[in-house]
């Protein structure tokens, strides 16, 4: 089971924090910075993902008061806002969907077992998972599929309404039945 505070509606938050091997920070950042966006992103192959990000955290910021902290290791933060009822199936989607990118990214992190063994990959992600304290989703009941299909339907309806303005009732009805068959 995922942490109960990671859930809002059917939406889940995932926060994974892993330590970056000493000296690997720049290579990892370069790799992530060079990833393509949109359909070229490896995340485009990980279904159920609304939003996700990787962030290299070099060190924490000192706010001028209190004792100064320094991270022993730079951290790789991965977060995702995804659909689903359980974390394990999403982690498996992440492993298979990211493909080689998973290893290209997390092999820069200490203790990463590789993506070859599904159980070891999931265990690594779970061990480094930080539960949300508070998670907000503006449309938490809607999956990625719901969102994309409703956006497409809305566009289709606008186009239909424009193209059928002024049609007599019988023509309007048959145009509707053709466009939106039952």
């Amino acid at each position: 089971m995922n942490g109960r505070h990671d859930i809002c509606g059917q939406a889940h938050s995932l926060t994974v924090l892993t330590s970056i091997c000493a000296g690997h920070e720049s290579a990892l950042a370069r790799y992530l910075n060079a990833l393509g966006s949109g359909p070229a992103s490896p995340l485009s192959h990980v279904g159920r993902t609304h939003f996700a990000r990787w962030v290299v955290v070099g060190d924490v910021v000192f706010e001028g008061t209190g004792e100064r902290d320094h991270l022993q290791f730079a951290q790789l933060l991965f977060t995702s806002n995804f659909d689903g009822t359980d974390l394990d199936s999403y982690l498996e989607s992440l492993r298979t969907g990211l493909g080689v990118a998973a290893d290209e990214i997390w092999s820069h992190c200490n203790g990463y077992p590789g993506s070859g063994d599904p159980a070891a990959f999931a265990a690594y992600m779970r061990r480094h998972h930080v539960e949300s304290s508070l998670f907000f989703a503006a449309y938490g009941a809607r999956t990625v599929e719901d969102v994309t299909s409703s956006l497409a339907l809305r566009n289709e309806l606008i186009a239909f309404a424009m193209s059928t303005q002024g049609l007599p009732p019988a023509d309007l009805q048959s145009a509707f039945e053709r466009r939106f068959p039952r």
């Binding site: 939003f51 290791f73 449309y139 990625v144 994309t148 299909s149 956006l151 809305r154």
Partner: protein
């Protein structure tokens, strides 16, 4: 580096929490999870897709142990929103000032949500730029998504209810449906 993907913008912030802060934040987060009105205000901002807050007490250090425990607990905040960074912080500080105070009031160096300039400087100082950012629907705002969802729900009801109607009755039902959803088209 990519904090922007289409219309979506990412914010990632880590702030050190003063001693005793995690206990207070526990209460704040409990209220956020259990008292509907606390997060309802975020919905009225209408440009936030997803946001989360998390307390980080330990950072992984590659060992099998519990990791590095720094002097402070850190408050992690991420948001996925549409619009510009400045608009977002402006709206946050003006519309949800009290909630901002409740959440970041325990963070070291927090100047308060107003005036907005010192607050913006604080966020900039503690913000990290995403190295890679992904959105499944980068071309759409929160409002568009919620509107389209509402249209889809009403369309489904209309689609089911309008089966087998006479042309005249269909025409009337269709016009009523359009009137119902026109604000969201």
């Amino acid at each position: 580096m990519a904090n922007i993907e289409g219309k979506a913008t990412a914010i990632t912030v880590l702030t050190p929490v003063r001693r005793g802060g995690p206990i207070l934040l526990g209460v704040v987060f409990w209220a956020g999870r259990n008292l509907a009105f606390t997060l309802a205000k975020l919905e009225t901002l209408s440009f936030i897709h997803y946001a989360r807050w998390t307390l980080i007490k330990r950072f992984p250090d590659g060992s099998d142990g519990e990791g590095q425990r720094p002097n402070h607990t850190y408050l992690f905040f991420e948001s996925n929103f549409n619009g510009t960074w400045d608009q977002y912080i402006d709206a946050f500080s003006e519309i949800v000032a009290l909630r901002m105070k409740a959440i970041w009031g325990t963070s070291l160096g927090f100047p308060g949500p107003l005036p907005v300039e010192p607050f913006k400087q604080y966020i900039r100082r503690n913000e990290y730029v995403a190295n890679h950012y992904w959105s499944a629907y980068p071309g759409h705002t929160t409002t568009e998504i919620i509107s389209a969802g509402d249209v889809a729900t009403k369309f489904k009801a209309f689609h089911e209810a309008s089966a087998g109607l006479s042309p005249e009755a269909f025409d009337a039902a269709y016009k009523a449906f359009l009137t119902q959803v026109q604000g969201n088209l």
